[in-house]
Amino acid sequence: MAEFLWIRGGRIIDPSRGADETADLVIRDGRLTAEAPPTGCPVLDARGLWVLPGLIDLHCHLRDPGQEWKEDIASGTRAAARGGYTAVATMPNTEPAVDTPALVEYQLARAAAVGGSRVLSVGAITVGRQGRELAPMGQLRAAGAVAVSDDGAGVEQAVVMWRALRYAASFGLPVLEHCEDRSLSRGGAMHRGAVSTRLGLPGIPAEAEEVAVARDLVLAEATGAHLHVAHVSTARAVELIRRAKARGVRVTCEVTPHHLTLTDEAVARSRYDPDTKVNPPLRTEEDVAALRAALADGTIDAVATDHAPHGPEEKRCEYEAAAFGISGLETALGVLLTTLVQPGLLAPAALVERLTCGPARVLGHPGGTLAAGAAADVVLVDPRASWRVEPEAFASRGRNTPFKGWNLTGRVVATLVAGKAVWQLG
């Protein structure tokens, strides 16, 4: 007997097909179907709700293997499901780094055993993320890796990046690059500017990111390889990418919810709260405005969380001593709806595009669509539901968020992976 689910009367926003309409969605055996639901089929009443393709996170840190006190695949995928994500790409800066096919297989097997949101494994660019020898990308790909990255740090040497781009391209793997010139950023704790001067904190100049983006764009243009710039955070970096795209360079990029909504003033306002410490750092008003414009005009392909959970002892200390990172899977959608969509700065369909088929395109992932025949990865969102960010209630082990205490409007009601609920608001 086939298993059906009938999602009735919701507002379906599916940018992959240009759809934004009130309609029904029918699931048969874990896939979307154009068939009519049979009589007696179970019904999910979606009236007043948005029905979206499951969100895809290009960039998160599940910390597994090796740093399970921060997060593991079970807690991380639960957090993803609560956030409306049906697939998350986990970065390889684990311990050890994901630089062997066995580690990719471990992550995928663990995710399958946990049975929540899908996990996409990102392999390392270099062995041990040391920036020297290339990781075995062909075997990583064969084991299931969807991309390569040394995230957490940039590839320091141009020659290594030049080779990595060409080699990865030969296996069809995008290179997700953390663009940071350490010679400019070393020792910094927040964005270098008037606020860091006032607070007396060592600064990370915007140039640390921009110099690295410029170098990598040159290499991508020269090699024809697919470069994906992770967590772009400055106006000039985004402008460099916009111009490169106009020239036809194969470059894509992502932005995080925190870089779209917060500035370096958050560090001052919170009086040195380490939950505002993140790399790249929170930038200025002008940067936020440029990022928002680039998200709207499509220069930025995707919103990614850069979900970076940490244990309390890594954050309850002096600002300079604290770890970089924000735990973002459970707040991303609510923050974006509240700060961008509700004030009318971004159309709902544009946001959904950057959270679904945008990231799917970057990774060459088949998801991010509600087309008939696709896997039934679906998220139901109540765009009017208000809720308060309470980190103690997170499924993630990381409670490190500068959005704590924020009142958000727009909440995930249910998340389905292959037609099965992996999260439902109680």
């Binding site: 270098r192 860091s196 001067t197 006032r198 607070l199 007396g200 904190l201 002096e318 600002y319 300079e320």
Partner: protein, 305 residues
């Protein structure tokens, strides 16, 4: 101000700055006595917690507490649990459990005093946190200038040197501009942080522009490591291009004061001729430091009640 912390001069209004300076004037009278002891803080305890080496500031705070009859305990972090990995939060709780009435903190991390204050009920006095603030140094500079010049309003103050790394400069800028002085800053471009205007400074194109017709001139200490970090070419170059010598000081008004937070790098940021000259008020500053710290302890701990 009773029960409050002193973390940053930005937290004090002009009237509160005046209150501290007036109290400091009374405290200076106590310092002039043969028996320098008043019972104001009898039965109150003060811990000075120094996670960074300091001689002058620590002695100054400890004497200030003792002249007011407080029980003072000095903790040298080199021998303290922080070296064993204890968090500032745990240190704070431990001190509180011991019944301490106020804590003076010196720490290498900006915001450390803020963090300690958040964990403690009793007043925390910031004795320097990273590059952020050194409010009692700012107060003692205000006091020194005001005592010599009568009024801060309308004075031109030039601060020369490594503004990037100087918590003293930040606190001076805030305090001086709040009381109406005009502060000009100058130094090597690689040691000027962005956005100094946001702290009320006017950034001069040259040292000479900053010094011209100044009423007060302050040279900041140049740490030797700035050369190793590649921020400046070297000490000799610095002395020639940015150091305070007799010729440069002559650009200021004839009765201009020369201040320096000490310790001095003679021959680098200042020549001995200037440091030991008639315009230098370095030891007025040191004396004012004790008076100002007595005033702060008195105001935050609320006297003898």
């Amino acid at each position: 101000m009773k029960g409050r912390d002193l973390l940053d001069l930005a937290d004090l209004g002009a009237d509160e700055l005046e209150t501290v300076l007036e109290a400091a004037a009374s405290m200076e009278d106590v310092l002039a006595r043969r028996i320098k002891k008043v019972p104001t803080l009898r039965g109150r305890s003060l811990v000075t917690l120094f996670f960074e080496p300091s001689t002058r500031t620590r002695i100054s705070f400890e004497l200030a507490g003792k002249y007011l009859s407080a029980d003072v305990v000095g903790v040298n972090a080199a021998a303290a649990s922080v070296q064993k990995g204890e968090s500032l939060e745990d240190t704070a709780r431990t001190l509180e459990a011991m019944g301490v009435d106020a804590v003076v903190l010196r720490h290498r991390a900006a915001g450390a005093a803020e963090l300690l204050a958040r964990c403690l009920e009793v007043p925390v006095i910031n004795a320097g946190d990273g590059m952020h603030a050194h409010p009692t140094q700012g107060l003692l500079d205000l006091y020194t200038v005001r005592r010599r010049k009568g009024e801060l309003r309308g004075l031109k103050v030039a601060i020369i040197g490594d503004l990037e790394h100087s918590r003293v400069a930040r606190s001076d800028l805030i305090g001086l501009t709040r009381l109406g002085a005009q502060v000009w800053v100058a130094g090597p471009a690689t040691l000027l942080p962005p956005g100094l205007e946001g702290l009320g400074a006017r950034v001069a194109a040259t040292v000479e522009e900053a010094l011209r017709e100044a009423d007060v001139v302050m040279a900041l200490r140049l740490q030797r490591e700035r050369q190793q970090q590649g921020l400046i070419p070297g000490g000799e170059e610095y002395a020639r291009c940015f150091g305070l010598n007799r010729q440069r000081l002559a650009l200021a008004k004839p009765d201009a004061l020369f201040l320096h937070p000490m310790p001095l790098n003679r021959g680098v940021e200042v020549t001995s001729e200037v440091a030991d000259g008639a315009q230098a008020v370095l030891f007025d500053q040191v004396r004012a430091g004790v008076a100002v710290r007595m005033a702060v302890l008195y105001l935050l701990l609320g006297g003898g009640n």
